[in-house]
């Protein structure tokens, strides 16, 4: 019975999609907000990567909320999985190769992550991609040395402060008489590393926040066996 209703549901969905196919204008040349942004973004934000302009300037509030979602998810993940017991059994040691590899990779990942974050307004990449790399940089030692652990208190304070930075930069604009989250500072020369005003600073906050939250989540999941 259940299978039957499921099949019926899928069939209906398939018919709907087929109908949409029939009527959809694939080569739709509708004028859209994105093309208007392309026309003015370089001038208005000073970032060479327009996706970064949209993420941090035009739709900055979306990004703030997205960070808040990660923050909340990390907080709830910690709550659901609980803390590690002191006497919980450890995983077996990871062995020489993984340990040395982790030691060698850690600085490399850190540098690559920061590079990607700081060039987010110029090239593809930015706070999210770089943040993931930062998270893996901090998670890798955890895999290599099962005895070590990430200090969750530090993480929660770091992520809180990084998120607060984002909001406070936004509030500064309000004290300046502009709207909340308006980019500030000099826009500089298009394509230069130090340009686009506050956008790189915002992306740095995003990167640190994403990195610390994902590292926290990964550490929680890795240690979940030991919770009480």
């Amino acid at each position: 019975m259940r299978r039957f209703t499921a099949a019926l549901f899928l069939l209906g969905l398939g018919v709907m999609i087929a109908a949409i196919y029939q009527h959809m204008d694939f080569s739709n040349t509708a004028v859209n907000a994105g093309q208007a942004i392309n026309a003015v973004a370089a001038e208005e934000t000073g970032a060479a990567n327009f996706v970064t302009s949209v993420v941090l300037a035009y739709r900055g509030i979306d990004t703030l909320l997205e960070l808040t979602i990660l923050f909340t998810a990390a907080m709830i993940g910690g709550m659901v999985l609980g803390r590690r017991r002191v006497d919980a059994p450890r995983d077996p040691d990871a062995g020489f190769i993984l340990r040395t590899g982790a030691d060698l990779l850690f600085p490399l990942l850190l540098v690559v992550g920061l590079y990607i974050i700081l060039h987010g307004h110029l090239t593809p990449g930015g706070g999210f991609q770089g943040g993931v790399i930062l998270a893996s940089a901090f998670f890798l030692p955890l895999l290599a040395r099962p005895g070590s652990s990430i200090n969750q208190d530090v993480i929660s304070i770091v992520e809180g402060l990084a998120g607060a930075t984002f909001i406070i930069i936004g509030l500064l604009a309000m004290f300046d008489g502009k709207e909340f989250l308006t980019p500030l500072l000099d826009k500089g020369e298009l394509g230069a590393l130090i340009s686009a005003g506050t956008l790189p600073i915002l992306y740095l906050a995003v990167g640190i926040k994403v990195g610390s939250e994902l590292a926290g989540l990964l550490a929680h999941l890795a240690e979940a066996e030991a919770l009480d």
Binding site: M16, A19, I20, H23, M24, N28, T29, A30, V31, N32, A33, G34, Q35, A36, I37, N38, A39, V40, E44, A57, Y58, R59, G60, I61, D62, L64, L65, E66, T68, I69, F71, T72, A73, M75, I76, M79, V80, D153, S156, I157, E159, G160, L161, G163, A164, I167, I168, G170, L171, A173, M174, K178, E179, F180, L181, T182, P183
Partner: protein, 488 residues
């Protein structure tokens, strides 16, 4: 003037900083949350009078309308933003284990709820909605029992499914119109979205946003969650959060989707919601689940009201929403100590006479007994439907009347038990003072509304009229025409 932004930004900022503040002073961390919400409520109330004359549009980041994200405040939106803020303040979740965490979640809920009500951008609404969903997971699972984890997981599966569908709906809208700004969508909708693609987008978004609004096919989570979460969280979710989801659907319906089929879908799903909800409530044997199912029925009535074309439908839906906004949290708070089997309620009126009396009044209003507000709200839904003179609407009226008699049946079963002469073997717990006071405040406010029905109805009517005024919406936001960058 752009202080309205603080209604969203301040709670978020405080939530981020709460764990740092806790390092410095535990006392400050305990009190800063309620204080911030009080401040944002004052900000909202101070803006309220001037919105009556003209709604207000702000641009996040100061970018011109279709490019940046719009925040649109009319009295309709601000009413629910305030309901969220004040509701969270009244129903401040308490947790013995980790007050810090539940305070953060409460602040996030208040900030997001306000933002959701005030947002004027389709994708921004989606992100706010997702954040509100994640925060509710935290509030439900915060109980820490195995049941709360399991119900959160089932809720998460349904929500995740719905959210992805809503995203697909947004993709279809953007494909057709090239904009996400609601004002500009309202301009373009008659030309670009009045087709099958627009209808598909509506259905997808209805399923997505309907999850929280307890829409008929995607409401399996309701009884489990309300039975396992703490009463204050249930009160918040059933009372305020579901209304915010409904507000999004109303906005979409008013501004973007004008197909008659959309109204039919709402009507059918509403009827099914009323029928299934009330039948299940009638069969329920414990108070929490009974209230949960009856909430599905009430939300169904709101969907039926929305399906009435024109201003009358929005007005009726608004009246039912405001009625439910006060009634349901109050009932859930009363159920806090009475929760559990109805059989065990016998004689509870003797230990807590005030609570029992309040419950009776609320039950009468929920059923719709004449002088009480619930009656007038239901009348506002039924009258325009009779005037429409269509078979499906007659069916809706019939289902609503049948549902009222079912409601009367099961609620009186509870009331009879409360005033049972034979006391049960178990001793009843008295309500906590804070819970009872809040319940009395909300319920008392509702009953007091009987004495000023006419001015209240006028006020709600003007709010509904402002909400349905599409041309004012477009003029206030004033999106610049999308020009130049035309491709090919």
């Amino acid at each position: 003037m752009n202080l309205l932004v603080l209604m969203i930004a301040l709670p978020l900022l405080t939530a981020f900083l709460l764990s740092s503040i806790n390092r410095i002073s535990t006392l400050a961390a305990r009190w800063i949350g309620p204080l911030v919400l009080l401040a944002t409520a004052v900000i909202g109330l101070s803006v309220w009078p001037q919105l009556g004359a003209a709604p207000l549009a702000l641009q996040w980041g100061g970018f011109q309308a279709p490019l940046g994200i719009t925040l649109y405040a009319d009295q309709f939106a601000l009413l629910f933003a305030l309901a969220m803020t004040i509701g969270t303040l009244l129903l401040w979740p308490r947790s013995a284990e980790n007050q810090l965490r539940s305070s953060s979640l409460a602040l996030l809920l208040a900030g997001t709820g306000s933002g959701l009500a005030l947002s004027g951008d389709l994708f921004n609404i989606y992100v706010f909605y997702e954040l509100m969903t994640v925060v509710s997971y935290g509030l439900i699972a915060g109980r820490g029992t195995s049941g709360s984890f399991a119900s959160t997981l089932r809720y998460l599966v349904i929500s995740g499914f719905g959210a992805a569908l809503a995203l697909a709906g947004i993709a279809l809208v953007y494909q057709a119109t090239g904009t996400l700004n609601l004002a500009q969508l309202a301009q373009l909708a008659p030309e670009k979205l009045n087709n099958l693609q627009g209808f598909a987008a509506f259905v997808l978004m209805l399923i997505g946003f309907g999850v929280k609004a307890e829409l008929f096919p995607v409401n399996m989570w309701v009884p489990e969650v309300y039975a396992t979460a703490s009463s204050r969280v249930s009160a918040l979710l059933a009372g305020v959060v579901s209304k915010l989801a409904l507000l999004i659907i109303m906005r979409l319906l008013i501004l973007v989707f004008h197909q008659p089929e959309a109204l039919t879908v709402l009507l059918v799903l509403g009827i099914l919601g009323v029928a299934s909800g009330e039948l299940a409530a009638w069969r329920a044997r414990d108070l929490n689940r009974m209230l949960a199912f009856s909430s599905i029925g009430q939300l169904g009535v709101m969907f039926i009201a929305l399906s009435i074309p024109g201003n009358a439908g929005i007005f009726a839906a608004l009246a039912v929403m405001v009625h439910h906004l006060f009634l349901k949290p109050s009932m859930f708070l009363l159920a806090e100590r009475w929760g559990g089997s109805i059989e065990k309620l016998a004689g509870a009126a003797r230990t807590s006479p005030i609570a029992a009396a309040l419950f009776v009044l609320l039950a009468l209003s929920l059923i719709g007994v004449p002088p009480l507000p619930g009656f007038w709200a239901k009348l506002l839904v039924i009258m325009p439907m009779l005037a429409l003179d269509q078979p499906l609407y007659y069916l809706a009226v019939f289902v609503m009347l049948a549902a009222a008699s079912l409601e009367a049946n099961y609620l009186f079963r509870v009331v009879m038990k409360l005033y049972d002469k034979q006391p049960a073997a178990t001793s009843h717990k008295v309500h906590a003072t804070a819970d009872l006071a809040t319940a009395l405040f909300l319920g008392g406010g509702l009953i007091a509304a009987v004495f000023m029905l006419v001015p209240l109805a006028d006020r709600l009517d003007s709010i509904a009229a402002q909400a349905t005024d599409v041309s004012t919406y477009i003029q206030t936001v004033a999106p610049q025409q999308l020009q130049s960058g035309r491709v090919q």
